[in-house]
């Protein structure tokens, strides 16, 4: 897979894919999409890097340790956000009732806890996909 064309193309394309992924994650509550699809796109971009260069370059881009920390961190963030809602007096994972700041409907920061949660889930999905790919392709972990 050491091909000049794929390298250059992927070098060009990857930043856009990543931005697009982040966009989808962040706008999940406004337009179709969300953390799962956005995270998958982001993760796919990482896999693309790994495929078009070689595994070492990919590993450099997202080291294994960092990936697994991010995985746990993403899930933990999700759970903690839910707990914060309880601390603020609502039910678990409740949003408006717990007093998260709600913005204008239609703007980016309009959904209180949803925003935080999607962010965390996006991180989780992206890092998980990358980890899984490495796991299968490398075999030894």
């Amino acid at each position: 897979m050491e091909d000049q064309i794929t390298r250059i193309t992927s070098r060009l394309v990857v930043p856009f894919i990543q931005v697009y992924g982040i966009y989808i994650i962040l706008h999940g509550h406004l337009s179709p999409g969300g953390s799962f699809s956005g995270g998958a796109i982001f993760g796919a971009s990482l896999v693309l890097v790994a495929l078009s260069f070689n595994l070492e370059a990919g590993s450099k881009q997202i080291p294994h340790n960092a990936a697994s920390v991010l995985e746990s961190g993403g899930a933990l963030g999700y759970l903690i956000t839910g707990l914060v809602a309880i601390a603020l007096g609502g039910y678990y994972l409740s949003n408006k009732a717990a007093g998260f700041p709600m913005g204008e409907a239609g703007s980016l920061f309009s959904a209180g806890a949803i925003f935080i949660i999607t962010l965390f889930v996006g991180i989780k999905v992206a890092s998980t996909i990358a980890t899984l790919f490495y796991y299968i392709i490398e075999g030894e972990k």
């Binding site: 340790n65 697994s68 920390v69 309880i86 678990y92 949003n95």
Partner: protein, 492 residues
């Protein structure tokens, strides 16, 4: 109710939280990882007990995730029966975990132990969720999580049998969840609800218009949960999976995981499908007869095994059949018997797998015919085995008798003594394959030939705890039975 109103969610959350934090802890502060899991389990147990007390005082309690009321939001329900299951689940898993602390180092590579903690907490958390949830789709998701983590604690051992067994398990349980989801869709199609309580009411009306859909859904549920809980003809995955897994995992799988699915099937039959549906088609009958067959064939298969853990696994098939019988008999006493058996068998089978684990740890022997004379070198272990098998057979003074008593009583109550015969015949078969092991272990002239490693104190302690509990279940069963009778009264 104050802070405790959040407990239904927190029980699950705290376990998942530990699950994700433990690999981090294992990476950075290795000594804290295991205590963290223990602390989480203890916290969950405390919450369950508090909830149980409150539920008994104030009645059934519903918790809405995110404050969304049903039928849209996910709803958790806390009623005595579910909390009873949770108490059994969490305390037994705590006990197994403490045992696992020593045994894991022997069976697994150090590197993956942190992941084992994660999977363990996820497994317990998802099972707690299955028991608590009041929403079909949530049930589906939790079932998948449970299936993956259950497979993973088998395959984490990374030898050939484990991998192959867990793949088989994964495929069959994927089939099970596929069927389940199809059933859910069928129900959603005719009612538009996923919440148990709403479904229960809506199905009464919908039954007049779409009987076929509802029957199909019910049949699919039986297949789904039957596969997952190893109801007789769908049990093929169980022996391999349970026998090849590391011993704590086997204890967990045989002791708890299959019970949770049986409990889920029970919820389907009693909380989702109204009586009219169950009376129109003999669904309970099907479950009942399959259970009867399972009770016989599980024992017969167990008799011809040569591997100790395989034998225990087949015995689980026979024992889970009692629980299904408790569900299928459709009588309050049968429920008491079935649910009591959930507890008894969870403790007993977990302990028996621990015994197997200790034997493997200490001597490396797995074959039944090589166990001759082992009672003299591992006395505590084999006494535990003796008591465990006594409970399996249903000798008086052990918990096994009480559940059989109730099952048999209810079979008579509805006028079907044939099932009493099944229970008795199955007990006899149990005796036939458990007793020779005990006898040969203690009463044989031949000395045990293999080299023996000393058994760590914590393992012995866990087994002693198990023994004590089995005896306690046999004699002081009244509080539990009273609780169960109250809980069962809600359904009749």
């Amino acid at each position: 109710m104050g802070f405790s109103e959040h407990f239904p969610a927190l029980i699950v959350v705290v376990l998942f939280f530990t699950a994700f934090i433990s690999p981090l802890l294992y990476r950075w502060a290795r000594k804290l990882a295991a205590p963290a899991v223990i602390a989480a389990l203890l916290a969950a147990l405390a919450m369950v007990v508090v909830l149980l007390i409150q539920v008994q005082q104030f009645g059934i309690y519903y918790y809405h995730m995110g404050g969304w009321p049903p039928p849209w939001g996910i709803e958790f329900k806390a009623d005595p029966l579910r909390l009873y299951i949770l108490v059994v689940l969490i305390s037994v898993s705590l006990w197994i975990f403490i045992y696992a602390l020593r045994d894991l180092g022997h069976e697994l590579k150090t590197r993956v132990i942190g992941w084992y903690y994660t999977l363990y907490s996820v497994l317990v958390g998802s099972m707690a969720g299955i028991a608590l949830t009041n929403d079909l789709f949530n049930l589906f998701v939790l079932m998948e999580i449970c299936a993956i983590s259950a497979c993973a604690i088998i395959s984490i051992k990374e030898d050939r049998e484990c991998l192959e067994a867990s793949f088989k398990y994964l495929i069959l349980s994927a089939m099970g969840t596929g069927c389940f989801l199809l059933g859910v869709v069928m129900l959603y199609m005719v009612t538009g609800y996923l919440n148990y309580s709403f479904l229960y009411q809506a199905l009464v009306e919908a039954f007049d218009f779409y009987p076929l859909n509802i029957f199909t859904a019910a049949a699919l549920f039986i297949v789904a949960f039957g596969t997952k809980a190893a109801l007789f003809p769908l049990h093929v995955w169980l022996p391999d999976a349970h026998a090849s897994a590391p011993s704590p995992s086997s204890a967990m799988l045989s002791g708890l995981v299959i019970k949770i699915y049986a409990f889920a099937l029970f919820l389907m039959f009693y909380e989702v499908f109204p009586r009219v549906v169950l009376e129109a088609v003999p669904l309970s009958e099907i479950v009942l007869w399959l259970a009867a067959l399972g009770a016989m064939f599980g024992s017969i298969y167990a008799m011809i095994q040569t591997d100790l853990k395989k034998m225990l696994a087949y015995s689980s098939i026979a024992q889970i059949a009692y629980i299904f019988m408790g569900i299928g008999l459709h009588h309050s006493l049968a429920l008491v018997g079935g649910f009591y058996h959930i507890m008894v068998h969870a403790v007993t089978k977990a302990m028996l797998f621990m015994v197997a684990g200790v034997i493997i740890y200490s001597t490396g022997v797995r074959r039944i015919d090589q166990l001759t004379g082992i009672g003299k070198v591992l006395p505590v272990t084999m006494v535990a085995f003796t008591i465990g098998s006594a409970s399996m057979v249903g000798i008086p003074g052990t918990g096994g008798l009480i559940s059989k008593w109730y099952l048999a009583l209810s079979a008579l109550e509805i006028g079907r003594p044939i099932f009493v015969l099944v229970i008795l015949a199955s007990s006899l078969l149990n005796a036939i394959y458990y007793m020779p092991i005990v006898i040969n272990a203690f009463m044989h002239q031949d000395e045990f030939k293999k080299e023996v490693k000393p058994v760590p104190g914590i393992m012995q302690l866990s087994m002693v705890v198990g023994m004590v509990f089995i005896i306690i279940f046999g004699f002081f069963s009244k509080p539990v039975v009273t609780l169960l009778e109250q809980a069962a009264a809600l359904f009749f």
